[in-house]
């Protein structure tokens, strides 16, 4: 189901703001001032919140380092949950931490295409020539998420995150089928990025902030990192093995 606003909204919004570089009154632009963020934050129970968060599982990496805008982040959360929803088999993308996985990826090498060829000139290319947008991936996500929002507003007069699940699927399908015009990137390229990143977040090692509790692996019967299967490789029985993460 779609994310519904609830009582925790204020709390999570405050948490988001604290971690994302906003202060009351404006955006902090530089790393030097960043260190003063806590002190500057005009929020009476800030210290207490911070303490509670540190105690929660995953709290240190379940915080944004790329996204700065809660509304935009809400679109991402709702979209990834439709791609990989919670069901009887286990958690969906949100509970698995996928939005934070994507956030962290966008902040780094992946989001900035640092090991990819990004020199011009840029031309659209045929269907067989691959990624040709001049946008870096983090820019493609910005454009794509804004597109999901504006398309939802245009079609349903609501934010994407507030739509019914089936409506969200309709919107995502329109993007997947290249039916929505976006700036500098096709909606299908954005959708494919989003889908791939969602599955990566579900199944990557938990060190990347997704696959919380290795639940993505558990749903597939994948044991993660194991040193050796030498004594099991010829076994006729299916082996149920407790998963290990690389850094546990």
């Amino acid at each position: 189901m779609a994310e519904t606003p609830n009582n925790s909204e204020n709390m999570s919004r405050r948490k988001f703001l604290r971690n994302s570089g906003y202060v009351a009154g404006g955006l902090i632009g530089g790393g030097i001032i960043g260190g003063l963020l806590g002190a500057n934050l005009n929020d009476d129970d800030n210290d207490k919140t911070a303490k509670t968060d540190t105690n929660a599982a995953h709290s240190s990496n379940q915080a944004p380092i790329y996204f700065t805008n809660p509304e935009q982040f809400a679109v991402l959360k709702a979209a990834v949950e439709r791609i990989y929803p919670k069901d009887d088999n286990g958690p969906g993308a949100v509970d698995l931490g996928v939005p934070f996985f994507i956030d962290h990826q966008l902040a780094g090498s992946y989001g900035n295409n640092t090991r990819e060829y990004m020199q011009g000139p840029f031309f659209p290319g045929s269907d067989f020539q691959g990624y040709q947008t001049p946008l870096l991936r983090h820019e493609a996500f910005d454009v794509g998420l804004a597109g999901l929002q504006s398309y939802s507003q245009q079609k349903y007069k609501k934010n994407f995150a507030e739509l019914e699940g089936e409506q969200q699927d309709e919107v995502l399908k329109a993007f997947e089928e290249k039916k929505v015009k976006l700036k500098a990137v096709t909606s299908s390229t954005f959708f494919n990025l989003l889908r791939a990143a969602t599955l990566e977040g579900v199944y990557a090692d938990p060190v990347y902030a997704g696959n919380t509790n290795m639940d993505g692996w558990k749903m597939k019967g994948f044991p993660g990192h194991q040193m050796s299967y030498l004594d099991k490789i010829d076994s006729k029985e299916f082996q149920k093995i407790k998963p290990n993460s690389l850094h546990a």
Binding site: N89, T114, R115, H225, Y229, L246
Partner: protein, 570 residues
């Protein structure tokens, strides 16, 4: 201004299997060899956290940094070629050991038919067959029997484990290591194939089936079947990789000097012979000239082609007239696949790069092509490499690719699907080739290599035939549902297919129709040797490394001879 360094006997461009073998063999003979590698040094000690699918298999930790250098691609010459901005269809290597670090270790010998493909095809099917299919095939200028001793050497160096194959060429020695273990998965394939009258055999493996010491004294550990092989380095040193099997010996000779972060941009020459190479230290950005008596280019395919074109060595191929040679006969691999859906659960996540069972009944000319509209074929294998969860999301046909049903099916079938794949041979045609791109440049301002490539009727026919054969095997294995991967309308640079790119600096019996002789020596510059799958006039239905290794050992022998007497070796 480039700094000129003291002259060396031999300079090697790229230190993977080819460069490592040359360093080891020439160093042993007392020749002074400088190995220039554009990437960083790496080895077993660097794979401490290698069981990380995202980092290594999805983000390509061990592969080429495309921000510095890539190639451009188009299907046909009338299109505008655009840069391959991200890795996809093939995964180019970079760094010490090259792609030999992140290979699976399948180590086949090509068939005797491959080396005399034109003669044999004409003899059996007449001259019209090749012409009607529009193929540019040619004999290799060497026979299987002539290359056999070098295959034997490479297999001993790489500790290959395997067993006899009904269709193989004559072997002078058995495999140096025993076959990989049989598992319920590979056993299922073996039984089905046998019941159908086919000839299954254990895939020849560079994953050590038992602890092994090679003739250079390199000790390799036994494979642990951990499931992290292709796209990964082996933290156990259980995969024959150049940094384990040959480079330590090369260095121990005292005659091999490795320089990493050294990107060669040009082969310097006087029109007749090479005088050395120009390279950039990619960390300091300093430029050097390394003079040498002999230049050995060992950068697999892409950079072998690019360096020759960039350096104006050899005559570039022109598809309009069919004249010229460098860039000609670019080939790839044709890769049909089928997936079988089962009710029973398998340990699909366990495996090793070369754990598999293969049949060659539909490879080469092992079956009659009289009534078929293609030649050659491919090896069909069930390869239990170890499934990983990001990349493996099989769902039955008609299932959406995301959402509730996708999640349910893709998690359910992760351990209930098996797949077969063909490594199909790729035949050269006039319009599939490589040259330099007129627009796009690398980080040093040099033109990128431009690839013009598309599938042909031969490819499509081979594809659908072998796919049908695989479907039959999968049904025999008891799959309740078989999904066959369709062939793309045109070759697509995005989805991963194979890193078995070949051609462009092809070998043959005489100049004019080839760039190098069967010692990998350039006809147009006798002190330049170009080693790699670039010398394959076509690509066979197997992985190329065994043949690259064999040709490297033959080249090493030739270079030693040349260093004493000079002149053309063939």
């Amino acid at each position: 201004m480039a700094k000129t360094l003291p002259k060396t006997d031999v300079v090697v461009v790229g230190v993977g299997w080819g460069g490592g073998i040359i360093g080891a063999e020439l160093g042993k003979q007392g020749l002074k060899v400088v190995g220039l590698e554009r990437g960083k040094e790496r080895g077993v000690k660097d794979y401490y956290v290698v069981h990380d699918e995202l980092r290594y298999a999805i983000r390509y930790e061990l592969m080429q940094d495309l921000s510095k250098e890539t190639l451009t691609f188009r299907n046909v010459a009338k299109e505008r070629a655009l840069p391959m901005r991200q890795l996809g269809s093939f995964l180019l290597g970079e760094g010490l050991g090259g792609s030999g670090v992140h290979w699976n270790g399948h180590t086949f010998r090509f068939l005797p038919y491959d080396f005399e493909i034109k003669t044999e095809t004409e003899k059996k099917y007449g001259k019209n067959k090749i012409r009607d299919l529009g193929l540019d095939i040619q004999d290799w200028g060497i026979t299987y029997d002539e290359l056999e001793p070098y295959y034997d050497t490479f297999e001993k160096v790489a500790g290959i484990g395997g067993e006899d194959n009904h269709f193989q060429g004559k072997r002078s020695n058995p495999y140096p290591n025993k076959p990989m273990k049989e598992t319920p998965i590979t056993g299922k394939f073996k039984k089905a194939a046998k019941d159908m009258g086919l000839h299954p055999f254990s895939m020849p493996s560079a994953n050590m089936t038992e602890a092994y010491e090679n003739p250079y004294g390199a000790k390799m550990a036994a494979c642990q079947y951990c499931g992290y092989c292709e796209r990964f380095g082996c933290e156990y040193g259980a995969k024959a990789d150049p940094t384990v099997a040959v480079i330590p010996y090369a260095r121990s000779t005292g005659n091999f000097e490795l320089r990493t972060h050294s990107n060669v941009t040009e082969i310097l020459h006087d029109g007749k012979k090479a005088t050395g190479v120009r390279y950039v230290d990619v960390q300091t950005k300093e430029e050097f000239i390394q003079p040498a008596e002999i230049v050995v280019v060992t950068s697999y395919v892409m950079n072998n082609n690019r360096l020759l074109l960039q350096s104006k060595l050899g005559k570039p191929y022109d598809p309009k007239t069919g004249s010229g040679i460098i860039g000609k006969n670019y080939c790839y691999q044709i890769l049909p696949g089928v997936t079988g859906f089962f009710d029973e659960q398998f340990n699909t996540f366990m495996g090793a790069g070369s754990l598999g069972m293969t049949v060659d009944d539909y490879n080469g000319d092992n079956f009659d092509h009289s009534d078929l509209n293609f030649i050659h074929g491919g090896s069909i294998s069930l390869n239990q490499t170890g499934k990983r969860p990001i990349q493996t999301n099989y769902v039955p046909d008609g299932t959406p690719s995301w959402g509730k049903e996708f999640k349910e099916k893709s998690t359910h079938y992760f351990t209930r699907t098996l797949d077969l794949a063909t490594e199909g041979a790729s035949m050269p045609t006039r319009n599939n080739y490589m040259d330099l791109d007129p627009t796009y440049k690398d980080a040093f301002g040099n033109p990128l290599l431009r690839m013009t490539y598309d599938f042909t009727a031969q490819d499509r026919n081979l594809y659908s035939y072998t796919q049908k054969m695989m479907g039959n095997i999968m049904k025999e294995m008891g799959a309740k549902e078989v999904y066959a991967r369709g062939v793309s309308e045109h070759y697509d640079i995005v989805p991963y297919q194979s890193t078995h790119n070949t051609g462009g600096v092809i070998m043959g019996a005489e100049p004019g129709t080839s760039a190098v002789n069967n010692y990998s020596q350039m006809w147009d510059a006798e002190n330049v040797f170009v080693i790699g799958a670039s010398s394959f006039p076509h690509n066979s239905g197997y992985n190329p490394t065994g043949t690259v290794g064999a040709l490297a050992y033959r080249a090493a022998e030739g270079i030693i001879k040349y260093s004493k007497n000079g002149g053309m070796l063939a």
